[in-house]
Structures are given as structure tokens and as C-alpha cells.
């Protein structure tokens, strides 16, 4: 094909493209700018106070019972223990020991219930999704077990059942099945280290504790803005950093904000895909009418 012919093709292609793109834009409208979803004061939440936790693990056991999760049995010296070492396919919360600067602290881990969760952003069919009230919920009915949630979660919270024929993703859902009674872990905490409530109230409570004993607390509340804000908030001693508690350093914006902006930007109004598709189709249709200049004509001649 001559350069002149190619130029004609692209001009005609461009006209068709613009018309088609207009129709597609009207039909879809999927490419709005991605705004961060901010936490709300009346979201369900939890406050963990690392200065108060004594490591009794009542929360761990209560969680296991309330969620009907099997024991993680470990044998040692002829005795048997329910001793989960980490979150897993049968453990939704676990208490670990954090080593700080000349001081150690217990830390409870579970889903952070992000205001703008990465797991929900990447989940193909919305099996993980944020429900009204702020809980990041899991619906096994639409989960295909692709485990992208595990890859995407900055806290590495969702866990998978690796050794069963019919596995599921396992993670804390703030005991949403207990009909408004709140999470079992907070109910049994004897020290007020795990508190359940509305996020706004919990943030106020965290600030109250810090203000009442500024020498015993790190001035920041983890989760207030980290990763765009989480439903679960942490306060700690000035000698045990949030990093020591195992909480990652996150930007103040939610992680899906950047990824979804790029993804939706590329596909804005389906313009780019429609342009490419039309260009190839037009080039090939023209080539067929002039077999001698075509890549495709040869086959027809056969």
C-alpha cells in the first residue's frame, strides 16, 4: 500500500472512530475520575490499645468460637495447644508479641476494614465488598479463589485455605453475623484494649487516652489517615513503633485510587480500544477490495 493510500485510510478511520466513540461514551460513562472513598464517623470500627493488652488471648478464643473456626492444634511435650502463629485459613485474629525499643507489647492483628479497600477494588465479582456501615464483607458465593485480594491487601490480611478441595478466603468481618452485637473479641477483652464502636467515637476515645497520658502514648493514631483511613485504629507506646507492631507505612491516599485512575484513564469512554479496532477493520476491509495490495487477498484467491 502506498503512503498516500495509508493516509486516506487513517483519515476515514478517524472519522468513523469519533462517531463510534461518541456513541460508546454515551452508553457507558464508566470513566469518571476516581475519588478516594473517605472513612465516616458512623462506620463500624475497632480500637486496639497496645499499652493495655496483656496478651491473654481471650479475643483469639472468642473469635474462634463466634466464627466456628477449627482449632490450630499444636503438640509439644505431650500436651496439646490451640496455638495459631499467624492469621490463616482457620484464624481471623491472632495476638503477637512486638519488640520495641527496650519494651515489648502485645499486638492483635485482624482485618483493618479500610475505608477504600484494595481487596474490594481488585475483586473480580465483588466477593469482597464494603457494606453499609463500614464492614469489608466476604461473600463466598461469588469468589472464584483467584487470591488477587491477598496480593493487593497492603496488610496481607486475607488468607486462603490451601489444603482442602473446597477452599475459601478467610478474614475478619467484625462479626457481622452476630446481629449487631459487635465483634466477639471486643466483648471479652478484660482490659479495654480492644474496643468496638463507631469510628468517630473511637477516634475521640483514642485522642482522649493519648491526651490523658501523653508520656505513655505515641501521639499518632494509626489508621486515622494511613492508606486512606481504616475502620480499625491502633494506639501504642512511644517506645513500640507502629512498624514494630507490624503495621506497614502507607501513603495517606487509598491504594486503589492510583491504580483505578490509571486503569480507567486508559479506557476512558472506550476511546482507545474503539480507535484501534476501527483502524484495523478499516485497513483490512480496504485491503480486501484491492487484493493486489493486501495482506489478506491471497487467501481469497485460493
Amino acid at each position: 500500500v502506498t503512503p498516500r493510500g495509508a493516509a486516506r485510510i487513517s483519515r476515514r478511520g478517524a472519522l468513523r472512530t469519533i462517531a463510534a466513540a461518541g456513541a460508546a461514551a454515551a452508553a457507558t460513562g464508566v470513566a469518571e475520575a476516581r475519588e478516594p472513598r473517605r472513612p465516616r464517623d458512623d462506620d463500624a470500627g475497632m480500637l486496639f490499645d497496645a499499652t493495655r493488652c496483656v496478651g491473654c488471648r481471650a479475643c483469639q478464643t472468642a473469635c474462634r468460637e463466634a466464627n466456628e473456626l477449627p482449632y490450630e492444634r499444636k503438640q509439644a511435650n505431650g500436651g496439646e495447644y490451640d496455638a495459631p502463629l499467624d492469621l490463616s485459613g482457620s484464624t481471623k485474629t491472632v495476638v503477637k508479641l512486638a519488640r520495641g525499643d527496650g519494651e515489648s507489647a502485645y499486638v492483635k492483628t485482624q482485618c483493618m476494614h479500610c475505608a477504600d479497600p484494595a481487596c474490594a477494588s481488585v475483586c473480580m465479582a465483588g466477593a469482597l465488598h464494603r457494606i453499609a456501615g463500614g464492614v469489608v464483607a466476604y461473600d463466598p458465593g461469588t469468589c472464584v479463589g483467584c487470591r488477587y485480594c491477598q496480593v493487593a491487601c497492603p496488610f496481607s490480611v486475607p488468607r486462603f485455605q490451601w489444603f482442602t478441595a473446597f477452599p475459601a478466603i478467610v478474614k475478619c468481618e467484625l462479626c457481622r453475623h452476630r446481629d449487631g452485637k459487635g465483634p466477639a473479641c471486643a466483648e471479652v477483652c478484660p482490659r479495654g484494649a480492644v474496643v468496638h464502636g463507631r469510628r468517630g467515637d473511637l477516634l475521640a476515645e483514642a485522642r482522649r487516652r493519648i491526651a490523658a497520658a501523653p508520656d505513655r502514648y505515641h501521639p499518632a493514631v494509626y489508621g486515622e489517615r494511613d492508606g486512606g483511613g481504616t475502620g480499625v485504629l491502633y494506639v501504642t507506646s512511644p517506645r513500640v513503633s507502629f512498624a514494630a507492631l507490624g503495621l506497614p507505612t502507607l501513603p495517606d491516599h487509598p491504594l486503589p485510587q492510583t491504580s483505578e485512575t490509571v486503569q480507567h484513564g486508559v479506557y476512558a469512554y472506550g476511546l482507545a480500544p474503539i480507535a484501534l479496532w476501527s483502524a484495523v477493520a478499516v485497513v483490512q476491509l480496504r485491503a480486501r477490495r484491492k487484493p493486489e495490495a493486501a495482506g489478506q487477498g491471497r487467501e481469497e484467491a485460493e
Partner: protein, 407 residues
């Protein structure tokens, strides 16, 4: 009779000793799938909650489809830029592409924990349009079908001469409308890889805090798209040469030499984009900071830079051996970039380790063997390869099967 430039079946015996080895590997693969279905993914794979995606994603899905992107690479040149002279390369590349994508899809199916819920992919009301993986899943599935639609004319051409008059009449009736639809099929065949090959990099946009800054960039989609095309060109040269070694297929050296200036510029463009992006973000220092990440980053750069520079030379491209070497480097570079992004650069949290089981690697190897077996079966029976002897002398399929059964 030779008919250079037109495709013909290779003919010949199907059940060669090599083919029997491939079939034995296929049986091994089926056994591993059975173990996975009964005892769970952990029984065949070292994947864990930290490394929830092991080697099956970067190898079976992203590298296999990267190699299969030969169909996309040659297609772009032949159909978008309308360079018909490259047509003799198309069918072989499309056949390899169809196999590569079918294997990738199969691997994903086995890797899905809750495969019985796969219906959600076909049920738009539950789709989450923000999910990059959903886009990948839909595009890869659609593209696999499109590739087989592109392969179909080769099969129909052969069936026109089938011994059963019903089959040959049906093939004759089906072929013309099939080819009339081709412009739209081809347009789709070039659109879909553009979308999902870039998205295979876009998957890691969201892991901003888990992916090493030498790899995490908003340009991930562009870098994956560019490198799938360079890999695809490399794969086309490799497959042409392997077919020449195995079956004495003649290679149009001038055609390959002219074509492979394209991956030269794309490779160098990839290097420029990679370095330019790091420079703009002020992260170039990480490349010389030492450590395993810097080392692999530099190795990647070399694997793109060296073939990129070498392929610029027309004399280099005209030498079949050297072109083969550069093609191999193109494939290795793209493969390393994929493994690095999916595994090395991915750092879930302190303490997590992953190294694949032998049976996990065997799963991938056996899957590749199945792909090779089907490719060989197709090029022997259907007009896929150009530059081969027409198989007038070769035994008909049924006779070959009888001969094999009698042995």
C-alpha cells in the same frame, strides 16, 4: 512440489518417540491436576498466604502468553500496517498463539481455588469493573476463542479435501463466510492483546507498598505491552528456526531480517521508558545501590539493550545464527521482567518465603509439553507452516494412525 510462501501440512507420522514422551508428560500433568482437585492447591504448589501467586502466574500465564504474542506482533505489522509480505509467518504464529493462550487459560482454571464459581465471569451483573483481573480474564478468554477462529481456515482448507463428501461440502460452504468475517476478527485479535497484555502489568499498580520501586510505576501497563511484543517477535524467530531444525522447513531469511528491526526499536524504547521513568521519579540511584534487586534490574536492562542494539544492524539480522541468538535474548528479557515483577520485586511482608516445589515446576513443564504436542499435531495435519514440502507423499491421517496402532 514446493510452494514457497504458501502453507502446507507437514504430514508424517504423529506418534513419534518424541510425541510419546510429550504424551507421558501430559499424563503426569493430569495426575497433578487430580491431586490438586482432591487435596487442595497446597498439595501441588508451594504458594502461600504471602506469595498467593507463585510461578504459575508469571510462567504459565504471563510468559506463555508473552511467547504467544508472536501472533499479536506479526499481526500488528501484517494487518494494522498492512504489510502483506509477512503473511507467511502469520499462521504458524497464530497457531502457537492459540496454544499458548489455551495453556494459560487452562493453568488459571487449575489455579482457581473456587473454580465452581467461574460462572461469575459470564454474568455481567456481578462484575466489578474496577478489577484489572476481571478485564484480563474476559480478554484472555475472548482472545483464546478469536485465535482458534483464526486457526479454523487452515483446518477448513484441509477438510475441503476430506474423504467424506458431507465434511468436504460443509468445509467448502463454511470457508468463504468465515474469511469474509476476517477483517473484524483480525481487528478484535489486535485489540484484545493490547488490552490484556498491558493489564498483566497493570495488575501490580495497586501493590504500591509491596512492589519494589524499581518495578512499581504507573508505566507498568506500557512496559508489559511493549515487552510482550518484543517477546512475541523473539518467539516467532525461535519457532521458525526450531521448525527448520525439526522438519527442514525453509526459512525466508530476508523476511525475518526485515521484520526484526521492529523489536530492535521496541526493545530500545522499553529501555528508554524504564530509565526515563526512574529518572523522572528520582529513583535511578536504586539501580546502582547493589543488592539482589539492583542486580536483576541491571540484568533485565542488559537483556533488552543487547538484542535491541544488535538487531539494529542489518548484517546482524541477515545472519540466521545471530538473529536466533538475539531472538533468544528478547524472549529471556521479557520472561525475566515478568518473573521479577510477579515474584522478585513483590515483597508481601517480612518473613514470607516462596520457592516452587519440583512438582509445581513439573506442572508447568508438562503443560508446555501438551502445547508442543498439539502444535506438532496441527502443523503435521493442517496447512499451518509455509516453506514446507506439500505432503502429497505423506500418509493420510487414518493410515498413519493405523500404522502407529500396529507397531
Amino acid at each position: 512440489v514446493t510452494d514457497h510462501g504458501h502453507e502446507a501440512p507437514l504430514g508424517g507420522r504423529i506418534l513419534t518417540p518424541a510425541m510419546k514422551l510429550l504424551l507421558a508428560l501430559a499424563v503426569l500433568w493430569a495426575a497433578l491436576v487430580a491431586v490438586r482437585l482432591v487435596f487442595g492447591l497446597g498439595a501441588v504448589s508451594a504458594q502461600n498466604d504471602g506469595y498467593a501467586w507463585g510461578i504459575w502466574k508469571p510462567l504459565n500465564v504471563v510468559t506463555f502468553t508473552g511467547l504467544a504474542a508472536g501472533a499479536y506482533a506479526v499481526g500488528l505489522v501484517t494487518y494494522l500496517f498492512n504489510r502483506g509480505e509477512y503473511h507467511p509467518l502469520v499462521r504458524s504464529a497464530v497457531m502457537a498463539g492459540a496454544m499458548g493462550y489455551t495453556l494459560a487459560g487452562t493453568s488459571v482454571l487449575v489455579d482457581l481455588g473456587r473454580w465452581w464459581n467461574l460462572w461469575v465471569i459470564f454474568w455481567p451483573p456481578v462484575w466489578n469493573l474496577s478489577s484489572v483481573l476481571l478485564e484480563v480474564a474476559l480478554c484472555v478468554m475472548a482472545y483464546t476463542m478469536v485465535l482458534w477462529v483464526e486457526v479454523a481456515p487452515a483446518v477448513l482448507e484441509r477438510l475441503r479435501n476430506a474423504s467424506s463428501p458431507r465434511v468436504s461440502a460443509a468445509a467448502r460452504r463454511l470457508l468463504p463466510p468465515w474469511q469474509r468475517a476476517m477483517p473484524f476478527v483480525l481487528a478484535t485479535a489486535l485489540l484484545l492483546p493490547t488490552m490484556h497484555q498491558s493489564s498483566l502489568g497493570g495488575l501490580f499498580m495497586v501493590t504500591e507498598t509491596k512492589t519494589h520501586p524499581l518495578w512499581h510505576t504507573a508505566w507498568l501497563p506500557a512496559l508489559f505491552l511493549l515487552s510482550c511484543v518484543t517477546m512475541g517477535f523473539g518467539a516467532v524467530v525461535l519457532v521458525e528456526n526450531l521448525a527448520a531444525m525439526a522438519w527442514g522447513k525453509r526459512i525466508d531469511g530476508r523476511l525475518l531480517a526485515r521484520l526484526n528491526v521492529v523489536p530492535a526499536w521496541l526493545s530500545l524504547g522499553w529501555v528508554a521508558l524504564r530509565l526515563g521513568d526512574l529518572a523522572v521519579r528520582g529513583r535511578l540511584g536504586l539501580a546502582i545501590a547493589g543488592g539482589v534487586h539492583a542486580l536483576f534490574f541491571l540484568l533485565e536492562l542488559a537483556l533488552f539493550l543487547v538484542p535491541g542494539v544488535r538487531l539494529l544492524s542489518a548484517r546482524h539480522r541477515a545472519n540466521r545464527g545471530r538473529l536466533f541468538g538475539s531472538a533468544l535474548l528478547l524472549v529471556l528479557g521479557g520472561t525475566l521482567y515478568r518473573f521479577d515483577t510477579y515474584l522478585l520485586a513483590y515483597q508481601p511482608a517480612p518473613g514470607w518465603r516462596y520457592f516452587p516445589y519440583v512438582r509445581e515446576i513439573a506442572f508447568s513443564a508438562a503443560l508446555a509439553a501438551i502445547g508442543v504436542a498439539v502444535y506438532v499435531l496441527f502443523v503435521k495435519r493442517f496447512p499451518i507452516l509455509s516453506g514446507v514440502e506439500r505432503d502429497a507423499a505423506a500418509p493420510a491421517p487414518r493410515a498413519a494412525a493405523r500404522a502407529a496402532a500396529g507397531r
